[in-house]
């Protein structure tokens, strides 16, 4: 939902941030999709006068933003928390170079791991990279704070980290449009080697500048408009930031609060004064004891992670119960129900590959994307998943560790976008250092999991305009892979033959499983001829059911019902295709040995 009403606007945090970037005069923005950050660039790409792009990974995205800043324009890089790990290398040195045009790096953390493989706390990067970090609590504040972030960046010659979480990115709230701002910096090529060329002699000088900058930022923090004491009942005083502030306000509306809009560096004098003004000091924050640690280092006694959970999201009830355990009312008990995990879509091309892998005795080294769902039953065909691009290196490492014992038994599986992100360097290593593991590239032409973003293999840019599409076969051959096959993953039996042959190969081989994502607009528009079940012919063998397709259901029958349907008495049920859900991929038909699945037109 991105439609807007006039002032006031109803927007998600990510939409509000995109509007703020536009109003702040951002000229260049780059990033890699990652929940919950993706919609920032998607929305920003719809504003006039801002160049936006999807980079192949977060490191390149940040480097592009650094380049734009060096050229004197306001620049933005966006990523999820694990993306900042990838971009950490340029980040730590951009801290030394500083900026010309304002440079803001937005990082979206995912406490509770709604859609992530870990729940790291990105605030630690602000400390480690010696950078200021701003933290809004809701969409409206995000919008105001992002505009300030660009001013801070230029005034203090520093990249600014801007941390949001899922409950800011994907929360909708009331926003007001603001005034258009612009940078005071003049764009152009300026040679500033002492600032931009970070070799030891220059870097040592910049290292001093970094410390001086942080000292000035600490001073600024003492009087900044976003670090605010809200006077109140002083028996309990809270220091908090981000969305935790909202939970404090909702659970203890009358208490005194020091709300920090900047979590690094901290306003030490302000914190000392506030601590003195309250009887009991509580630090309420999600994930790590970041504020608590630094407040305790000031020699200030406080409650924090002794009461507040350090895992998962907080909410009002958790905060209230942690501080005041007697306040909690009894709740209705949950009822045990069948779980409803996410599933690959009906007609998803990945399903065909994972069905085959589930029938082969191999270790599947997986990666990050929709296809990670291949882990779930009934396919259960993924044995490891660590981070973007890791599948290839992990398979190679296993092959090297086990030697001949791994031959034909280790497969890595990666999507097109993830392969381009960081899988390619793993493949180069596999070829260079020689192992015979098989790599399957699931090429559905889109970055699907995060909601259909174009990537360098799609043939389109962020705006949907034509762009170069990487030739994955040629790319694999260019890095030295001699055995490259392309298969249609919907052709289950044909794929199996190619996969078996590739596994027998003594050298690294790549199988590219190519079929478009069924959620692509062109696939949705295409004439879909669904399959249907000839119920009378179904023998109840469950071969199709084992695909785990959401369009196929198993319908149990009693012995009497079986008889009345003309089945053998011992037939336990029949499979049925929901023709509304069926996307016509035909994988189930290939598996049916009894001709009980036919195309609708037949």
């Amino acid at each position: 939902m991105t439609e807007k009403i006039d002032n006031p606007l109803w927007m998600s945090g990510n939409e509000a941030i995109a509007l703020a970037a536009y109003e702040a005069g951002v000229k260049v923005a780059s990033g890699y999709p990652g929940t919950p950050s993706t919609e920032i660039l998607e929305n920003l790409s719809r504003y006039e006068g801002v160049y936006t792009e999807w980079a192949p990974n977060e490191k390149v995205g940040l480097e592009v933003a650094i380049g734009a800043s060096f050229a004197g324009v306001r620049a933005l890089a966006t990523m999820k928390h694990v993306g900042l790990n990838v971009a950490a290398d340029p980040l730590f040195t951009a801290s030394y170079t500083g900026v010309r045009g304002g440079l803001v790096v937005i990082v979206a953390d995912d406490p509770e791991m709604h859609s992530s493989q870990n729940e790291q706390d990105s605030r630690n990067y602000a400390f480690a990279a010696k950078l200021p970090m701003l933290e809004p609590s809701d969409p409206a504040e995000a919008k105001e704070l992002l505009k300030l972030a660009f001013a801070i960046s230029e005034e203090y010659d520093t990249p600014v980290l801007f941390r949001i979480t899922t409950r800011i990115a994907h929360v909708k709230g009331v926003i007001t449009k603001g005034e258009m701002l612009s940078s005071l910096v003049t764009p152009g090529i300026e040679k500033m080697p002492a600032k931009f060329v970070m070799l030891p002699g220059n870097a040592r000088a910049r290292r001093v500048v970094v410390e001086e900058r942080m000292r000035l930022l600490r001073e600024m923090a003492e009087n900044a408009p976003f670090n605010v004491v809200e006077a109140g009942d002083s028996r309990r005083g809270f220091i908090t930031s981000s969305v935790s502030y909202l939970y404090v306000k909702a659970s203890f509306p009358d208490a005194a609060v020091l709300k920090l809009g900047m979590c690094w560096p901290l306003p030490e004098l302000m914190i000392r004064d506030f601590a003195k003004s309250v009887d009991q000091l509580y630090v309420v924050e999600e994930l790590d004891p970041f504020l608590e640690l630094h407040i305790r280092a000031m020699g200030i006694a406080c409650h924090g992670k002794d009461l507040i959970p350090s895992q998962g999201e907080l909410n009002t009830a958790i905060v209230r119960k942690a501080i005041d355990p007697t306040s909690v009312a009894e709740l209705f008990a949950p009822v045990a129900l069948p779980m409803r995990p996410p599933n690959m879509c009906a007609g998803c091309p990945h399903r065909g590959i994972f069905y085959n892998l589930s029938r082969m005795k191999v270790f599947v080294s997986g990666d990050i994307g929709c296809y990670t769902l291949g882990f779930l039953p009934p396919l259960s065909a993924m044995d490891s998943c660590v981070c973007m691009g890791a599948s290839v290196g992990i398979a190679h490492g296993m092959a090297k560790a086990l030697g001949d014992d791994a031959k034909g038994k280790v497969v890595s599986v990666i999507g097109d976008s993830t392969f381009i992100h960081t899988g390619l360097s793993g493949l180069i290593n596999t070829v260079y250092n020689g192992s015979s593991s098989l790599l399957i590239i699931l090429d559905n032409r889109i970055t699907a999991m995060t909601g259909q973003q174009n990537n360098p293999a799609s043939g389109c840019n962020i705006k949907g305009e034509a762009a170069n599409a990487i030739d994955l076969e040629a790319l694999c051959r260019a890095v030295g892979v001699k055995h490259v096959d392309v298969v249609n993953p919907h052709d289950i039996n044909g794929c199996r033959k190619v996969l078996n042959k590739a596994l027998e190969c003594d050298e690294v081989s790549v199988v590219i499983a190519r079929a478009p994502c069924v959620l692509l607009p062109e696939m949705k528009k295409a004439a879909n001829i669904p399959y249907r079940t000839l119920v009378a012919s179904c023998t109840g063998c469950m071969a199709c059911v084992r695909l785990g397709c959401p369009a196929i259901s198993w319908n149990p029958v009693s012995p009497e019902k079986a008889k009345s349907l003309g089945y053998k008495e011992k037939q336990k049920g029949f499979a049925l295709i929901n023709e509304v859900q069926c996307n016509g991929c035909g994988q189930c038909q290939a598996l049916c040995k009894f001709d009980a699945i036919v195309r609708q037109e037949a």
Binding site: T35, T166, V171, V174, T316, L337, L373, P378, P550, S553
Partner: protein, 193 residues
């Protein structure tokens, strides 16, 4: 403090929950409330359980509904009406689309769909309003308007006039689907009136 409330939407990815919760949010904003709505994207799609949490009042801080404090639950699927029971209180109203969508473990024959699943709610004395949203949507001629039928059914539990919702629906759906959506809204509203 003036009126305030918490509306929990639950269902299965692909049922149009986000659009339904958007219409409700716009209606509440039109009535002058502050509001916040929380959604989770990503893994929640792809046929998984989906929720949206909508809170309104004079001033809303937390975007999340506290367990035990959902005043209205709009459930787009029978079992998904029961999954969030700890969020309800004695005075909650649960508006349920009577549709059943089989989760993977049921569709693959490993478990069965729980029978009389709504008894878990009614046994606690919580009011349940049944809406055959799928059938009503089919009757107005477009099964994809089941979510707007649900909006109609919820609308009678909130202070805004029907015209507020009708204006929002008209403004937010493509012109060629406007009439059918307005009919779907009216059909849902009739169920709970």
């Amino acid at each position: 403090m003036g009126a305030q409330g918490n509306i929990l939407f639950s269902g299965v990815g692909g049922q149009g929950i986000l659009l339904a919760s958007e219409i409700m949010a716009y209606a509440l904003l039109a009535a002058g409330y502050d509001a916040k709505k929380s959604e989770v994207h990503g893994m929640a799609q792809r046929g998984g359980s989906v929720t949206a949490q909508l809170r309104y009042g004079d001033k809303v801080y937390s975007p999340l509904i506290e367990p035990g404090r959902a005043d209205i639950q709009v459930a787009f699927e029978m079992m998904e009406a029961v999954r969030y029971l700890p969020y309800l209180h004695k005075g909650s109203t649960v508006i349920v689309n009577t549709q059943k969508i089989l989760p993977p473990s049921v569709a693959t024959g490993q478990t069965s769909y729980p029978e009389n699943v709504l008894d878990h709610i009614t046994a606690l004395g919580i009011r349940v309003v049944l809406v055959d949203a799928f059938d009503l949507a089919r009757e107005v001629g477009e099964v994809r308007t089941a979510n707007v039928v649900m909006v109609g059914a919820v609308s009678t539990f909130l202070p805004m006039d029907a015209s507020v919702y009708e204006g929002i629906i008209s403004a937010r759906v493509p012109a060629r689907f406007r009439d059918v959506n307005l009919q779907a809204f009216a059909a849902g509203r009739k169920v709970s009136q």
